[in-house]
Subunit: 557 residues, 2 copies
């Protein structure tokens, strides 16, 4: 029997980076270490004058890369049979879109003396919304000139994305823009660093970042053309040749680990480093996404990841955050959808309305578990932070309807959980309409692991099973899977997933009676959804409350 | 100068009865005493098997009548110049519709041995809803046979009203129905008792009770005709001759105080006792209602009272609780409207959502006072207990819209106050549309006296002044005014009001800027109101949230 081989997945989150060492044959998670960023507020650097600004110092990335991998390796050393020499590949995922302005050598501008300490010369973190105006203008210009560019990213270009940030930099700090030889996504920067090839023109670029955030698609020749970019601003058009023409899936080898980083990490020089991708997408891979299975990462918000065969109608699904060839599993459409607030809504209710501490979640969950679907007579829309899928409208807000003089706090809490379940179900329905039927959902994240009531409600609303992934670090696991694939340890991603992806620790199955009630409630939810969410939609809602009361009466017998 | 004369007003509430002694020339409130009912739960007797049942034992009325008047008299005796011999008249108001089944002598059946302790033989308190089904059937049958009967009571006959209760008694306890020679309103029973004429056929009946709750109107010959009542049930038709043909305003003398009660109370025999009426209506009189002035009694719910000239279109106002000739000030249409929950909504939020004690009202009011109209981005419908005016629909429920992840408890509290202000303003607009323009509102009740924020919001929403009555007992004061009028101490009600009615202790004036914002918000409120409140109404609401956000942005500058 051959010696055991290992792959390392490195998962760069918003506040910390995790390295995970995985057995490439069994998927066993051998060792892991987390490094918290030290700069700013848990790694996020704010501008006191502009609440929309969120930046990161790439020095945190450098330190975190070394610390997390070294930490995991030192933990793994205590394990019999492990040796760093048996690591065959490294995969990387990061937040995104988190573009970094770099010089011709690929050095982040803030790491050069001229721009040290300049926030605009740092990494523009995914949740930086300072480019809101630019995003609206990009949407408008693309709608006029290149409507196809918007077709696979929900019809609306976001302030969180690549070109909004670059353009905003040009408009507010032209010195940084002018000094930037190119802009590099965080998930491209780390593999480039590891392989010792940070030349922005020659480095490998992630199709996940390119396709979901930069309007890249092979069928229109890669990134948006210079004419379109010049319509934003001629100087953006002029930047076009210093970006890239091709992007790759994460099964592709970005290169071999360079001697410098091999030495810093104590790993063999030359081992495979995979092309990077975004955290949620690799979380989907790590959780076992496949045709018919949706992976749902449930946290403060949710990210939904699935795949569809290339001959499906998936590329035309309106209102999802993106459909990109190869962004999840190579050879398939990668589909990203999501809800802009889930855990955040429950946290809002507990913190701002109940004015209580986090323990209140347990109390309310227990009390809410005693209620039956429809019993409260309440219905809510889960739009406290806008609607990401399928309406793609950040300017929607929450709604709670059906209150009487007897409505309790626990009833409202349950109703908010149900609202997020209806939002999730609406995404499933949209996928189904476009030939991407989902038969099973696998959930990851703290809420999925801890809140059985929420999981059961999701199953009852969907009318189909929802499982919990038995790994708490599916993103890093997905990265390790690609490290293994890039190293040739598996012939392709699907075969690597069969060996390495997480299993499920629990499966929640729908109750037919509860599902029946929730079908009715979801119908009413969609009445509100369409009436409040679609401008110009004509509907009358006069019977909604009465229908809720009738259901309530029937349920209470 | 003539000797000072006094009138007594007796105000029978849900849990207690108050007697008030008033100087008939100056309106000075000389003495008052309150007697709490002792039976049931604060006077309300429930049926553990039926939550809709709410009854009272007339023995509480007898005891309370004597105790409250005696108490007030003994307090007044310490006052120089007062003597019981100077009391010239007594007026009475009660809750209603609170009908009592009586024998041929006018004795409540529960006070006869055969029916002692039988809840159905007691007074059927105003808030008894056991006749819900009967109410619906009365509405349906009247719509078919006598649509005019419903025209002056909001188009819907309520379970709280006279015939719903009588019919429900027939359907559930025919022995009581059969034994009842007649049914007498609480507000008719007390004056009848005082004048020693309880013969149900000969006693004076209140046009306020008859018109607002029993479909009485002089123009169609008094009470509903026997043919219509027989369509409900022939036995109700057979009851018709044992009810009454004529009802009077409260300026009419029901009779002279009988020797028995004169002795029990220590008052002169033969002094005037006025025809009774309902509490809110006499509260309107006591607070100084007149043409162009609306009196608003703000408590857990509100009751709105105004008058209109007989040549106005008032009789055709849809959606008010009732328009009755002479039910408030003789010679005018008396108009009753109201909101089914106001203080109850704030209490619900504090108790059920905040899970806090009553002190929280002060805290939230203080915090809410720091907010500006439109700042929260929230909008609510004040329908937690249905909508009494102008939709007349008990099966509507609350709605809160516009929540984000930052919405605070105080913002919601203020939004609920604003929602009740919008509901109140909607009533003013409806009156205006039908030629009953209101230029000033006078508010009574604890909330009006204590909550300056609410009063200011009401003024800002209405765009016109709202004042607080400087009496905390306007109902008893109104009753005393009619005691004086019935005694001939004043030539008519208006002249008695000029001398005796309450003044105002404070006036809140609208701020033009706040009013402007509230005009916009009320427009959005009406969009929701019509869309959610009117079955079959067609509207699209897709822009409501965005309009709220725009207002919010503008307000925040």
């Amino acid at each position: 029997m051959a010696e055991t081989r290992y792959a390392i997945g490195v998962d760069f989150g918003t506040n910390s980076v995790r390295a995970l060492i995985v057995d490439v044959e069994t998927g066993e998670e051998v060792a892991t270490a987390v490094h918290d960023y030290t700069r700013g507020e848990h790694g996020v650097i704010s501008d006191p004058d502009n609440p929309h600004v969120a930046r990161q110092d790439p020095a945190d990335y450098h330190e975190g890369l070394e610390a997390s991998i070294s930490g995991a390796l030192s933990m793994a050393r205590s394990r019999q049979g492990f040796a760093p020499q048996r690591v065959v590949g490294i995969g990387v995922d990061t937040t995104g879109s988190t573009p970094i302005p770099v010089n011709a050598a690929g050095v982040p501008l803030c790491m050069t003396p001229a721009f040290a300490g300049n926030l605009n010369a740092m990494a523009w973190l995914w949740k930086d919304h300072s480019g809101m105006d630019e995003a609206e203008r990009i949407t408008r210009i693309a709608s006029d000139l290149r409507p196809n560019y918007l077709q696979r990213c929900g019809g609306t270009y976001s302030s969180e994305w690549f070109f909004s940030k670059i353009w905003h930099c040009l408009n507010t700090d032209p010195a940084v823009f002018d000094a930037a030889h190119s802009w590099v996504e965080f998930c491209d920067y780390i593999p480039a660093l590891l392989v010792g090839n940070t030349d922005p023109i020659r480095m490998k670029r992630s199709v996940c970042a390119a396709g979901h955030k930069a309007m890249y698609a092979a069928d229109w020749g890669g990134l948006p053309d210079a004419e379109f970019l010049s319509a934003l601003d001629p100087r953006i058009g002029a930047l076009r040749p210093r970006l890239y023409d091709h992007a790759d899936s994460s099964d592709v080898r970005a290169g071999g680990l360079c001697p410098e980083w091999a030495e810093r990490l104590g790993l063999p020089s030359g081992i495979a480093v995979a092309v990077g991708a975004f955290d949620a997408h690799l979380g989907g891979v790590g959780a076992g996404v496949k045709l018919g299975t949706l992976v749902k990462i449930i946290g403060t918000s949710t990210c939904d990841i699935t795949i569809a065969s290339r001959d499906s109608d998936a590329a035309n699904i309106p209102g999802v955050c993106g459909v990109v060839d190869g962004s999840v599993v190579p050879g398939y459409w990668g589909i990203e959808a999501g809800q802009s607030a889930v855990g955040d809504i429950f946290n809002w209710f507990v913190t701002e309305v109940c004015e209580a501490g986090p323990d209140m979640h347990d109390t309310l969950t227990r009390r809410a578990a005693d209620l039956r679907p429809g019993q409260s007579g309440l219905l809510a829309l889960d739009w406290n932070n806008g609607n990401r899928t399928i309406l793609v409208d950040a300017r929607l807000t929450g709604l709670l309807l059906g209150q009487t003089l007897h409505t309790t706090r626990a009833e409202i809490y349950r109703t908010l959980i149900e609202a997020t379940a209806f939002g999730a179900h609406t995404i499933l329905n949209r996928l189904r309409e476009y030939g991407v039927p989902i038969e099973q959902t696998i959930a990851c994240g703290g809420i999925a692991e801890k809140n059985a009531l929420l999981m059961q409600i999701y199953a009852d609303v969907d009318g189909q099973p929802i499982s919990v992934a038995d790994s708490s670090q599916t993103c890093a696991l997905g990265a390790a899977i690609f490290g293994a694939v890039a190293a040739g340890a598996h012939p392709n991603t699907e075969s690597a997933q069969k060996s390495m992806a997480a299993g499920v620790s629990a499966t929640y199955r729908p109750d037919p009676d509860r599902h029946k009630t929730y079908r009715e409630l979801h119908g009413l939810y969609m009445r509100l959804h369409d009436c409040f969410g679609i401008a110009g939609h004509a509907d009358a809602l006069g019977d909604v409350m009465k229908s809720l009361l009738q259901i309530k009466q029937r349920v209470e017998g």
